[in-house]
C-alpha cells in the first residue's frame, strides 16, 4: 500500500489492458485470460515485496539448517585439508534448478576462496561448465583471491547420466572430499551420489526441486533443502534485501493460494456452483446410481466366487485365499457393503455418480441441459455464429502455408472473421459444441470461466 509508484504502474497496466480487451483484444488467446491475470498477480506480488525490501522493510527469514551448514561444511574441509565437491545437477542451463545451483555455487566459491579450500566442480553439460566457471571466477575475484582460481576447478565429465554418476563417484572415492554439495536437478543418480558420499564420511548437503529425489537425499544426506528452500538459498546466503523480499512475496502467494483452495473446497462441499444445484445434476445422479446398482446386481448374480472375490478386492486371487471363496459364494447382493459395491463398480466399469470424475459429471450435466432445451439451442443463432468463427480460427492457426493458400484461393476476397466463418462452416461438428452452449447459459460466468481455465 505504501509504494505509490508500484500502484500507479499497476493501475496503468490494468486500464490499458481493459481498453485493449474491450477493443476486441486482437492476437490475444481469450481462453487463457485467467492464466494471464494469474501471472500478472503473482509477478506483481513478487515485485511489490522486492521493492518493499529494497526500501528498507525489515524481513526475517526463518533459519534453514541446510544453508547454515554450508559454511560449516566448507570450514570442515579446510580443517581436514580436503577439497569441497560441488555437483550442480545433471541438466543444462535451460532448467531453473541448474541456474539456481550455479548461483549457490557462486556463494560457496566465495567461502572456499576466503578459507583457501580447494573446490572441485564436475559438470555434466558444457554450457553449465562455462557458466559455473564465470561464477567461480567472479567469486574468487570479489574475495580478492584470483590467484587461487583456475579453470580446471570446473571441469566437464560427460553428458550421460550414469557415466556422470560413475565419474563423480570415482572422484569421491579417489579424492575423498570432506564436504559434498548437491545443488540442482537430479534424477536416478541422486542416491548413487549420496550413498557414495556417505560411505566416504563426507558431510553432505543437498538441494533440489525434483520431488522424486527429495526422499533419497533426505535419507542419505546430512542436510536437505526441500523445494523452495533451495530457491531461497541465494537470498539466504547473500542476505540481499531484494532477494529476501522475493522470498517474502512467495509466502504471501502461498497464503493466497491456500485461501483459494480452502474456499473452493467450501464452495464444492456446499454445492454453491449452479451445476450441482441443477435438476439435471440430481436426475443424472439418480439415473446413474440406479443403472450402476442394476449392472452390479446382474454381475453378482452371474459371477462365480473367484470373479466375485476379485471384483470386491480389486486384485487377483492370491494363493491360499481359496479357503474364503465359500464366503463369496454364499454372499448375497443385498449383504454387500457400500465399499464392496464401489470396488465392484470400479472393476466392472459401471461407476456410481460419486466415482465419475468431476469433468465427466459436468459434461453429462451440460449435455443433458442442452438436450432438455433443444429448441432454445437450435434457435441460438448468435452462439452458432460465434462457434463457427472460433472453429474456423482454430483451424486456420493450425494450418500450414499450403493449406492456407488453398483456402484463400477458395474464398477470394475474404479475410479475418469472414474467412474464419467460411472455414468453420466446412469443418464444424455440432456435437462438440452442445456442452459449450450449456456452459454459456449458466448464470455465474466469472466462476464458469475460472472453472474452464486452461
Amino acid at each position: 500500500m505504501k509504494d505509490k509508484q508500484f500502484w500507479s504502474v499497476a493501475g496503468i497496466i490494468f486500464v490499458l489492458f481493459m481498453i485493449y480487451w474491450f477493443a476486441g483484444h486482437p492476437y490475444f488467446v481469450a481462453e487463457r485470460a485467467v492464466m494471464f491475470w494469474s501471472v500478472l498477480v503473482v509477478g506483481g506480488v513478487l515485485i511489490y515485496s522486492t521493492r518493499m525490501a529494497k526500501r528498507g522493510e525489515k524481513i526475517t527469514l526463518r533459519s534453514i539448517p541446510g544453508l547454515k551448514a554450508v559454511e560449516e561444511a566448507v570450514g570442515r574441509s579446510t580443517e581436514m585439508g580436503k577439497p569441497v565437491l560441488y555437483v550442480p545437477g545433471i541438466m543444462d542451463m535451460d532448467q531453473v534448478e541448474t541456474v539456481a545451483g550455479v548461483v549457490v555455487l557462486g556463494h560457496v566459491a566465495k567461502m572456499t576462496a576466503r578459507y583457501e579450500t580447494s573446490l572441485n566442480v564436475p559438470v555434466s553439460r558444457a554450457i553449465v561448465m562455462k557458466a559455473a566457471r564465470e561464477s567461480c571466477r567472479e567469486s574468487y575475484l570479489l574475495e580478492g583471491r584470483p590467484d587461487l582460481f583456475h579453470d580446471d576447478m570446473v571441469h566437464y565429465l560427460t553428458d550421460d547420466q550414469f557415466a556422470y554418476a560413475a565419474g563423480v563417484n570415482g572422484i569421491m572415492i579417489r579424492e575423498e572430499p570432506a564436504a559434498c554439495l548437491y545443488m540442482g536437478k537430479f534424477y536416478a543418480e541422486s542416491l548413487l551420489l549420496a550413498e557414495t558420499g556417505n560411505s566416504i564420511g563426507a558431510i553432505q548437503i543437498a538441494g533440489t526441486a525434483s520431488p522424486s529425489q527429495i526422499p533419497f537425499f533426505v535419507t542419505a544426506c546430512d542436510y536437505t533443502l526441500i523445494g523452495e528452500e533451495f530457491f531461497a538459498a541465494s537470498a539466504y546466503l547473500s542476505q540481499d534485501p531484494e532477494l529476501i523480499g522475493g522470498v517474502k512475496g512467495q509466502d504471501y502467494l502461498k497464503i493466497l493460494f491456500t485461501s483459494v483452495l480452502l474456499l473452493s473446497v467450501l464452495f464444492f462441499s456446499l454445492n454453491i456452483f449452479e451445476q450441482q444445484r441443477s435438476s439435471e445434476w440430481k436426475d443424472l445422479k439418480h439415473k446413474t446410481n440406479l443403472n450402476a446398482e442394476k449392472a452390479i446386481s446382474e454381475f453378482w448374480k452371474n459371477a462365480d466366487p473367484v470373479s466375485r472375490y476379485q471384483a470386491v478386492n480389486r486384485s487377483v486371487l492370491e494363493p491360499g485365499a481359496e479357503r474364503i471363496l465359500n464366503k463369496y459364494k454364499n454372499l448375497s447382493y443385498s449383504d454387500l457393503s457400500k465399499r464392496q459395491k464401489n470396488s465392484i463398480a470400479f472393476t466392472t466399469g459401471t461407476l456410481f455418480w460419486i466415482q465419475l470424475p468431476v469433468d465427466n459429471r459436468m459434461e453429462l450435466v451440460n449435455q443433458t441441459f442442452t438436450d432438455n432445451n433443444q429448441s432454445l439451442y437450435d434457435a441460438d443463432e448468435e452462439f452458432r455464429q460465434l462457434e463457427i468463427v472460433k472453429e474456423g480460427k482454430n483451424n486456420w492457426n493450425q494450418m500450414g502455408e499450403a493449406e492456407r493458400r488453398e483456402y484463400k484461393l477458395k474464398f477470394p476476397g475474404l479475410s479475418g472473421v469472414d474467412l474464419y466463418a467460411e472455414i468453420g462452416k466446412e469443418t464444424i461438428t455440432w456435437e462438440d459444441h452442445e456442452v459449450d452452449w450449456a456452459i454459456n447459459q449458466r448464470s455465474i460466468p466469472v466462476i464458469k470461466n475460472i472453472l474452464m481455465v486452461q
Binding site: Y27, D94, E134, S135, A209, P211, I226, E242, E318, N397
Partner: protein
C-alpha cells in the same frame, strides 16, 4: 563491460518476456518461436557447446596421464574410449551390407551363407527358396569392415550366387543395428549403464536400513508406513488378516499407555481389555480376512499412498512451483545476476 554485464541481462530479459507472454499471443510467428524455435536454438547451441566439454575432458585426462597423477591408467582408458567412439562415429563407417541378388542354386549358396547367418544349411536353403522371385536377400547383420564384406561376397560368388557389397550411408551407420558404433553402444555402453543403475538396488537397501532406525517419532512413522506399504503391495499382504493387524495395534497402544502412565495395572487392563474386545468382535463378524477394511494391509497402503502421500507431495509441488516462478521472474527482470558472475 557492456558485453559481459548488460548484454546478457538484456538478452535474458527479452527472451524471457517473449517466451512468458508469447503463450498468450495468438500470432503465428510468435507462437512458432515460443513453441519450436526457442527450444531448437537451445538444442543447436548445446550441441556446439559439446565441443567445449569434449576438449576440456581430453585436456584434463591428458594432463593426468602426462603428469602420471594418481589413477592415470583410468585417464588413459578414458582417452582410449573417447578415441574409439570418435573413430567408430566419424572415421570408420563400420557398416557394410552384403546383398545376394541371384542364387540359381540355393543349396549351393546356402553352404556359404549358413555360417554367416548362424543357421544350418537346410534352413538357409529354405529361406532362400522362400524368397519371392527376383527379390534380393540381404544379410541382416552388417560387417564392420569393407574387407570382411568383400570376402563374403567372393565366397558367395564362387558358390554360384551373385552378391555385392553395399555400404550404409554416413549418418545412418550410427543407428544401423549391427554396425560398429551400434555394437559398441549395445555391448559396451548399455551394460555399463545398466550396471550403474543396478547399483541403485543395493544403495536403496542400505539407505533404507539407515533411515528406518527408530531415532525419533518421524523415523518411527516412516518405518511403520514403509512396512505397511511394502507388505500391502505384495501378495502376502493380502493374506495377512486385518485382525492380526488389530492385535498389533492393541499391543502398540498398550505400550503407549505403559509409557504414558507407567502403571502396570493400566497396562494390563489395556492389553487384556483390548485383546478381549478384538477377539469378541472377531467372533461376531466371523473373522473375515479383509474386515475391518482400514486394518487390511492392501486397503491401508492404498489409503496411505493416495491420501497423506499425495497431500504432502502436492504441498511440496506448490512450493516448488512458486519457487520456480519467483526465481525465473528474478532472472527475467535482472534482479538476480549471479548466473553471469555478478
Amino acid at each position: 563491460m557492456f558485453m559481459k554485464r548488460q548484454l546478457p541481462i538484456a538478452i535474458a530479459a527479452t527472451i524471457g518476456f517473449l517466451t512468458l507472454f508469447g503463450w498468450f499471443v495468438d500470432e503465428p510467428v510468435i507462437k512458432s518461436f515460443v513453441d519450436d524455435d526457442a527450444t531448437q536454438w537451445f538444442d543447436i547451441l548445446a550441441s556446439f557447446a559439446m565441443f567445449l566439454g569434449a576438449l576440456n575432458l581430453l585436456k584434463m585426462q591428458s594432463l593426468k596421464v602426462i603428469k602420471r597423477k594418481k589413477g592415470w591408467p583410468y585417464a588413459a582408458l578414458a582417452i582410449a574410449g573417447f578415441a574409439f567412439s570418435f573413430t567408430a562415429g566419424f572415421i570408420l563407417l563400420g557398416s557394410y551390407n552384403v546383398e545376394i541378388s541371384q542364387y540359381d542354386d540355393p543349396a549351393q549358396v546356402a553352404t556359404v551363407l549358413a555360417s554367416e547367418i548362424n543357421l544350418d544349411e537346410k534352413s538357409t536353403a529354405n529361406i532362400l527358396m522362400a524368397m519371392p522371385e527376383g527379390d534380393p536377400y540381404l544379410i541382416e547383420t552388417p560387417y564392420f569392415t569393407k574387407v570382411g564384406a568383400d570376402k563374403v561376397v567372393e565366397k558367395i560368388n564362387a558358390a554360384g550366387g551373385t552378391a555385392n557389397m553395399r555400404a550404409t550411408e554416413w549418418g545412418a551407420h550410427i543407428a544401423t543395428r549391427g554396425s560398429l558404433f551400434n555394437w559398441m553402444f549395445r555391448f559396451i555402453f548399455t551394460p555399463l549403464s545398466a550396471t550403474m543403475f543396478a547399483l541403485l538396488a543395493f544403495f536403496v537397501a542400505s539407505a533404507s536400513y539407515r533411515a528406518f532406525k527408530i531415532r525419533n517419532f518421524e523415523a518411527t512413522l516412516l518405518l511403520i508406513s514403509g512396512i505397511i506399504i511394502m507388505l500391502g503391495r505384495v501378495p502376502i499382504g493380502g493374506n495377512i488378516s486385518a485382525w492380526f493387524i488389530l492385535y498389533i495395534v492393541v499391543l502398540a497402544l498398550s505400550a503407549g499407555v505403559n509409557t504414558w502412565f507407567k502403571n502396570r495395572v493400566y497396562t494390563l487392563v489395556s492389553v487384556v481389555g483390548g485383546v478381549l474386545i478384538v477377539t469378541i468382535a472377531g467372533f461376531i463378524m466371523g473373522w473375515p480376512v479383509d474386515q475391518p477394511a482400514i486394518f487390511y494391509l492392501p486397503v491401508l497402503q492404498d489409503w496411505i499412498y493416495n491420501n497423506p502421500n499425495v497431500a504432502g507431495a502436492r504441498a511440496i509441488m506448490i512450493g516448488i512451483g512458486l519457487g520456480i516462478f519467483a526465481t525465473s521472474i528474478r532472472y527475467i527482470l535482472g534482479i538476480e545476476k549471479s548466473y553471469i558472475g555478478e
